[in-house]
C-alpha cells in the first residue's frame, strides 16, 4: 500500500533535494519540492523496472569520494598524454571479465570506468560477461584489470550485494 502511494522513496528524496538545489531552501520550496518529488515519482514509477537493492548505502559516499579523487588525478595524466606526441601513445583494447551482475551495477561500473580517464567502456558482450575497454595508454593489462576490479567492481558489489 505504501509502495503504491510512495512508489520510489529514494528517487523522491533525491528529486526533492534537486528541487531545493534548483531553487532555494525556503519553506515554500520545501513544500512545493516535496509535492513535486512525490508526484513525479508517482508518475515516473511505471517507467522504472525492478530496483536494484542498495544493501550498504553508507558505502556510496565512499565510492564517490574515491571516484572523484581518481578523476582528478588521472585527468592530469591524460592531459599530459594528450599534449604529448601521438607516437608515444600505446592505445589498446582490453576485455574485462565481469563478476558483477545486474543491470544497474554493471552500468555503474561501466560508467565509472568511462569517467576515469585513460579508459572508456566500449561495449558489453552480449552474454554480459565481458566489458570491453579501450585504454588510451596501455602499459600493463593485468594490472589495469586488477585495479578496476579492486577499485570499483569490488566496492560496487559490496554496495549492491551482487
Amino acid at each position: 500500500m505504501i509502495r503504491r502511494i510512495f512508489p520510489m522513496p529514494v528517487h523522491s528524496l533525491l528529486l526533492w533535494l534537486v528541487w531545493l538545489l534548483l531553487n532555494d531552501f525556503s519553506a515554500g520550496h520545501i513544500v512545493l519540492g516535496g509535492l513535486l518529488a512525490w508526484g513525479i515519482a508517482l508518475v515516473a514509477s511505471p517507467f522504472t523496472s525492478a530496483q536494484t537493492k542498495v544493501v550498504r548505502p553508507l558505502l556510496i559516499p565512499v565510492y564517490f569520494a574515491v571516484l572523484l579523487w581518481d578523476i582528478l588525478i588521472s585527468n592530469l595524466d591524460v592531459a599530459r598524454r594528450v599534449m604529448g606526441p601521438n607516437r608515444s601513445l600505446r592505445p589498446g583494447f582490453v576485455a574485462l571479465p565481469l563478476d558483477i551482475t545486474g543491470d544497474f551495477p554493471q552500468t555503474a561500473l561501466a560508467s565509472t570506468i568511462s569517467l576515469t580517464p585513460g579508459t572508456v567502456s566500449v561495449d558489453l558482450s552480449s552474454d554480459r560477461r565481458w566489458l570491453y575497454i579501450h585504454v588510451l595508454h596501455l602499459d600493463d593489462e593485468a594490472e589495469l584489470i586488477a585495479s578496476i576490479k579492486q577499485g570499483y567492481e569490488r566496492r560496487l558489489r559490496e554496495i549492491f550485494a551482487c
Partner: protein, 932 residues
C-alpha cells in the same frame, strides 16, 4: 403592367411542357401554347397605343448599383418583333408537335423553345442595356440547347458548340460595347441612351462602341465572316431552324442594328462597315446557297444572304433603306419560316434532305409542293409576293444611296447579281425537288404530311400573298410604327404599292429574274466549276482551329508549368527578390544612425562557426546524416546568439526544438536514402540558383543591417510597464505569450496540435521499405536497446520531469514556461522510446496522445473563456498573491493554467508525432544476420 407579362408568361410557360411531359402529346402541346398565346393577345392589345406613337414602359428597380433595372418598353420595333416571335413561335409549336417523333423528349424540346421565346421577347422589349444583354445571352444558351437537342449526334454537339462559341464571343463584344455606351451616355436606360446620339457619336469611344456592338450583331445574324456557324446549326430539329435560324434569333442581330440605328448610325464609319459586310454576306450567302445539295443547307445560306441584304439596307445612307430593312425583316421571316417547315415536311415524309435524291416530289405531295413553291417564289422576289416588295425597295435604295461616294454605283450592280443568285437557288429549290425526274433511293415513299403539320405553312404562305398583294393594308401601319422607332423621327414619305411604274428598280428585278434563270439553266457548268474547289467545311475547320488552340494552350501550359517544384520555388524566390529588392534600390545607404556595437572575438568566432556550419550543410546536403550533424552546429549557435542578445526564452525554445527536430530527422532518415541517390541538378542550374540565392541573401542581409542600425520606437514600452502590474509576471516575454498576445499562442498550439493530427493522417497506412542494412550493406546491430542506455534513461526521467516542472513554474517570472517545459517532458519521454522501444512505453500505459492534445487545448480555451464569467473579453488575465502559513507568499494566475494547456498540447503533439513515426517500423522488421 401588361407589358411585364408579355415576357413573363412564356417564362412561366417553360414549366408547362415539363410538367405535362407524361400527358398525351397533343394536349401537352396545346397547353404549352397557352402562355405564348396569351402573350400574343397582350401584344395585340397594345397595338392601338403603339400605332398612336406611344411607347409603353414598365420598370422595377433591380440592381441599381449596376444601373440594371427590370425595365421593358414596347415601341413599333418591339411590337413588330414581338408579333413575329409570338406568332411564328405558336406556329412552330404546332408544327413541332407533328415533326418530333415519339422517341424525342417533346417536353424538354418545348421547354427550351419557350425559354428561347422568353429570351427573344426580352431582347426586343428591353429598355435597359444590361437587361438587353442578359436576354441576348439567354438566346445563345437556349439556342445551344435546341441545336444540341439530338445530343447523341456528333454534328449536333459540334454545331451547337460552334454556334455558342461564335455568338457567345459576339455577346461578350456586345457587352463591352453596351457598357461603354452606358458609361458614355451616363445611363443604362435605353430610352435615355437613344436620345443622346449626338453625345455618343462625339465621344472618343464611339468607334469602339460601334465596332463592339456590330460584332455582336454580325455574329448573331451570321454576317460574313462570322456566318459559318449558321449552316451547322441546321443539325437542330427543323422547327428550330424555322424559328431560330430564319425567323427570330438571327434577326436579333439586325434588331440590334435597328435598335441602335438612331445612336450609332449617321456616321460614314457605320455606313461603310455595315454596307460592306452586308453586301459581302449577301453575295457569299447567295452564291454558296446555289451549290448546296442539302435542302436545309440551301435555305441556311439563303438565310445568310437575306440577312446580308437586311444588313446592307441598314448600311445604306438613306432613310428609306432603313425602312426597307425593317420591311424585309418581316418578309423574310414569313417566307423563310414557311420554307424551312416545308423542307422539314419533305425530310420528315421522304427521309432525305439531299436534292440529288429528292426529285419529282410534285407527284407525291402536290399540296405541300404548291405551298413551298409560293414561298420560294417570294424568296426569289417574284411579284405579287412579299419578297418582291422589299427587294424592289432595296434596288431602289441602292440607286439612291451614296455610301461609297463616287464608287457607290457598285452597290446596285452587286445587289442585282445577288438578286439573280437568289432567283437561281430558288429555282433550284423548286425544280430540283419537285420536278427533275424521279426520286432516287429515298428511304421512305413520300406522301403528304398530317393535316395540322401543314397548317403553319399555309398560314405563312397566306401571309406572303397577303403582304405581297395588299401591302399597305396588311402591314403598312406596322411598318410605319417599326420604322419610326428605328429612325426616331418623322418618317419620310414612302408608298407600299406593288406597281411603281416602269423604273430602274423594276429593270433590275427583271434582270435578276432573267439572270437567275440563265444561271440555273447553266448550272451544269457552274457546278463543274465549283467542284474544282474542295468544299470548305466550317465545322471541321472550326474544330480543327479549336483543337489547334487547345494544343497550343496545352503545349504552353506544359512548358510554363512543368510540374516541378524547383521551378515554382524559383519563381517564388525571384518574386521575393524583386519585391524586397526593388524598394532597396531607393535606400541610399544601408547604414543607419544607430551606433554599431563593438565587436568581440566571441562574436566573430560564433559567426564563423555559424557560417561554416551553414556552408558545409549546403555543400554536404546530399550526405544526409552529415548534413544533419552540421546543421546542428548552426542550431546551437543560433540558440547561443539568442542567449547572447538578451533573449533567454528564445534560446531555451530553440534548443529544445532543435533536439526534437534532429530526432525527427533521424527517424525520417531511416526511410529516406542516406545519400542523394541522384545528382541534384545540372551545373548551370546550380550556378543560377546559387546566384539567386546569394542575391536574396544579400537583400535580406542588407535589410537586416538597415533595420538594426536605425533608431527605433515601438509599442513595447507598454509591455514592460504593464507586465507585472497588469499581467502579474516579471518575464515580459512570457507575459506577452500568455497574456498580451495569448491569442497568438492559442493559435500556435492549435497549429502544433493540428500538425500532429495531420502527421497522424500521413502515417496512417504508410507502407515504407524498411532497410535491413545500412546504405553500405552493413547489417544493423543486434543490440536493440543497449542496457546502459536503458538504465540511465530510466534514471533521467524523473529528473527531467522535475526540471520541466521547474521550467514551467518559473516561466511567468523568469525564462521558461509551458512550451519549453512541455518539450523537455516530451524529450524525456522520447528518450524512453529510444532507450526502451515503443512496446515498453506502451505497456506502461502511455498512449492516446491526441486526447492529451485535446485536453491541453481545452484547458487553454476554457482558461480564456473563464474571463467571461467576470464580464471581460476572452483571455483577460486574473492573478492574485496569496500568503499561506509555512509556504509563504505565492502567486496564482490564470496565465499559468493557460500555460498548462500549452504544456499538455506540446507533449501530446510531439509524442503523437514521434511515437507514431517510431511505431511504423516496429511490427515487422526484417531480421538481419550479423556478419560473423
Amino acid at each position: 403592367m401588361n407589358l411585364l407579362w408579355i415576357p413573363l408568361l412564356p417564362l412561366l410557360g417553360t414549366l408547362v411542357p415539363l410538367l405535362t411531359t407524361r400527358w398525351e402529346r397533343s394536349q401537352s402541346a396545346a397547353l404549352t401554347a397557352v402562355a405564348p398565346a396569351i402573350s400574343l393577345v397582350l401584344v395585340l392589345l397594345c397595338i392601338p397605343d403603339v400605332f398612336n406613337q406611344q411607347t409603353l414602359q414598365v420598370s422595377y428597380p433591380w440592381v441599381p448599383q449596376l444601373g440594371l433595372n427590370l425595365s421593358f418598353h414596347l415601341d413599333g420595333l418591339g411590337l413588330l418583333f414581338s408579333l413575329l416571335i409570338l406568332g411564328i413561335g405558336l406556329l412552330v409549336i404546332l408544327y413541332a408537335r407533328y415533326y418530333l417523333s415519339e422517341k424525342d423528349h417533346m417536353g424538354r424540346f418545348y421547354a427550351y423553345l419557350i425559354l428561347f421565346m422568353t429570351a427573344m421577347l426580352g431582347i426586343v422589349l428591353s429598355n435597359n442595356l444590361i437587361q438587353l444583354w442578359f436576354f441576348w445571352e439567354l438566346t445563345s444558351i437556349s439556342s445551344f440547347l435546341l441545336i444540341s437537342f439530338w445530343s447523341d449526334k456528333t454534328e449536333a454537339r459540334k454545331g451547337a458548340r460552334m454556334a455558342l462559341t461564335i455568338t457567345g464571343a459576339g455577346g461578350l463584344a456586345l457587352l463591352a460595347g453596351l457598357i461603354l455606351l452606358g458609361e458614355v451616355a451616363g445611363s443604362y436606360n435605353l430610352s435615355e441612351v437613344l436620345q443622346r446620339g449626338d453625345l455618343i457619336r462625339a465621344s472618343d469611344a464611339y468607334p469602339a462602341i460601334m465596332v463592339l456592338v456590330l460584332i455582336g450583331a454580325f455574329t448573331k445574324s451570321a454576317q460574313f465572316p462570322f456566318h459559318f456557324w449558321l449552316p451547322h446549326a441546321m443539325a437542330a430539329p427543323t422547327p428550330v431552324s424555322a424559328y431560330l435560324h430564319s425567323a427570330t434569333m438571327v434577326k436579333a442581330g439586325v434588331f440590334l442594328m435597328a435598335r441602335f440605328y438612331p445612336v450609332l448610325a449617321q456616321s460614314d464609319l457605320w455606313f461603310i462597315t455595315v454596307s460592306l459586310v452586308g453586301l459581302s454576306t449577301l453575295l457569299v450567302g447567295a452564291y454558296t446557297a446555289l451549290f448546296k445539295h442539302d435542302l436545309k443547307g440551301l435555305l441556311a445560306y439563303s438565310t445568310i444572304s437575306h440577312l446580308g441584304l437586311i444588313t446592307l439596307l441598314f448600311g445604306l445612307n438613306t432613310q428609306l433603306a432603313a425602312i426597307a430593312a425593317v420591311f424585309h425583316i418581316i418578309n423574310h421571316a414569313v417566307f423563310k419560316a414557311s420554307l424551312f417547315m416545308a423542307a422539314g415536311i419533305i425530310d420528315h415524309e421522304s427521309g432525305s434532305r439531299d436534292m440529288r435524291q429528292l426529285n419529282g416530289l410534285w407527284k407525291y405531295m402536290p399540296y405541300t409542293a404548291t405551298l413551298a413553291m409560293v414561298a420560294a417564289a417570294s424568296m426569289a422576289g417574284v411579284p405579287l409576293l412579299n419578297g418582291f416588295l422589299s427587294k424592289e425597295m432595296l434596288f431602289a435604295e441602292t440607286l439612291h444611296q451614296s455610301t461609297f461616294g463616287s464608287l457607290s454605283w457598285v452597290i446596285p450592280i452587286m445587289a442585282t447579281i445577288g438578286g439573280a443568285l437568289a432567283v437561281a437557288y430558288s429555282l433550284r429549290f423548286i425544280h430540283d425537288v419537285f420536278f427533275n425526274g424521279e426520286p432516287i433511293n429515298l428511304p421512305k415513299t413520300p406522301h403528304e404530311p398530317p393535316r395540322y403539320m401543314r397548317v403553319p405553312v399555309e398560314v405563312l404562305v397566306v401571309l406572303c400573298l397577303l403582304v405581297g398583294i395588299v401591302p399597305e393594308w396588311s402591314v403598312g401601319e406596322l411598318l410605319r410604327a417599326a420604322a419610326g422607332a428605328v429612325l426616331g423621327q418623322t418618317l419620310p414619305a414612302f408608298s407600299l404599292s406593288i406597281w411603281h411604274g416602269f423604273n430602274l428598280p423594276l429593270l433590275m428585278s427583271a434582270l435578276a429574274v432573267l439572270g437567275g434563270g440563265w444561271l440555273y439553266y447553266n448550272r451544269g457548268h457552274l457546278f463543274a466549276f465549283q467542284d474544282q474547289f474542295v468544299e470548305w467545311d466550317a465545322k471541321l475547320e472550326f474544330e480543327r482551329n479549336i483543337q489547334r488552340i487547345t494544343t497550343a494552350a496545352a503545349r504552353f501550359t506544359e512548358w510554363f508549368d512543368n510540374g516541378s517544384l524547383q521551378r515554382y520555388a524559383f519563381a517564388l524566390v525571384v518574386m521575393a527578390l524583386v519585391f524586397a529588392g526593388s524598394p532597396m534600390l531607393e535606400l541610399e545607404v544601408a547604414l543607419g544612425s544607430r551606433p554599431e556595437q563593438p565587436l568581440n572575438w566571441a562574436v566573430i568566432a560564433a559567426a564563423a562557426m555559424l557560417i561554416i556550419g551553414t556552408i558545409t550543410t549546403v555543400v554536404f546536403s546530399h550526405r544526409r546524416l552529415l548534413a544533419l550533424v552540421l546543421i546542428s552546429i548552426v542550431g546551437l549557435i543560433v540558440s547561443i546568439t539568442f542567449a547572447y542578445f538578451s533573449a533567454p526564452d528564445l534560446a531555451l525554445t530553440q534548443l529544445s526544438v532543435e533536439v526534437v527536430t534532429i530526432i525527427l530527422f533521424l527517424l525520417a532518415l531511416f526511410f529516406l536514402p542516406q545519400h542523394a541517390s541522384l545528382r541534384d541538378s545540372p551545373p548551370q542550374r546550380i550556378v543560377r540558383d546559387l546566384t539567386i540565392a546569394s542575391l536574396v541573401g544579400a537583400v535580406v542581409g542588407t535589410l537586416c543591417y538597415a533595420i538594426i542600425t536605425r533608431p527605433f520606437e515601438s509599442i513595447s514600452s507598454f509591455f514592460i510597464a504593464n507586465s507585472k502590474t497588469g499581467g502579474g509576471g516579471t518575464n515580459v516575454v512570457n507575459v506577452i505569450l500568455v497574456d498580451f498576445r495569448g491569442y497568438d499562442t492559442l493559435g500556435e498550439i492549435a497549429v502544433l496540435g493540428i500538425a500532429a493530427l495531420g502527421i497522424f493522417k500521413l502515417l496512417a497506412g504508410m507502407r515504407l521499405f524498411v532497410p535491413a542494412s545500412d546504405y553500405r550493406g552493413r547489417p544493423w546491430s543486434e543490440d536493440k536497446h543497449p542496457i546502459m542506455l536503458k538504465k540511465v534513461s530510466q534514471a533521467l526521467l524523473p529528473l527531467a520531469l522535475l526540471i520541466s516542472a521547474y521550467i514551467f513554474l518559473r516561466g511567468h517570472n523568469l525564462p521558461g514556461g509551458g512550451f519549453i517545459a512541455g518539450l523537455v517532458t516530451a524529450i524525456a519521454l522520447i528518450q524512453q522510446y529510444i532507450a526502451h522501444g515503443v512496446d515498453w512505453v506502451k505497456e506502461r500505459g502511455v498512449s492516446g496522445y491526441h486526447g492529451i492534445i485535446a485536453v491541453g487545448l481545452l484547458i487553454a480555451v476554457l482558461t480564456g473563456m473563464g474571463s467571461w464569467l467576470f464580464e471581460r473579453p476572452f483571455m483577460t488575465t486574473w492573478f492574485e498573491y496569496f500568503k499561506w502559513p509555512v509556504v509563504g507568499k505565492f502567486e496564482l494566475a490564470s496565465a499559468m493554467l493557460f500555460d498548462l494547456g500549452v504544456y499538455l498540447t506540446v507533449i501530446g503533439a510531439t509524442l503523437l508525432i514521434l511515437a507514431n513515426l517510431g511505431k511504423l517500423t516496429t511490427s515487422e522488421r526484417p531480421k538481419a544476420g550479423v556478419s560473423d
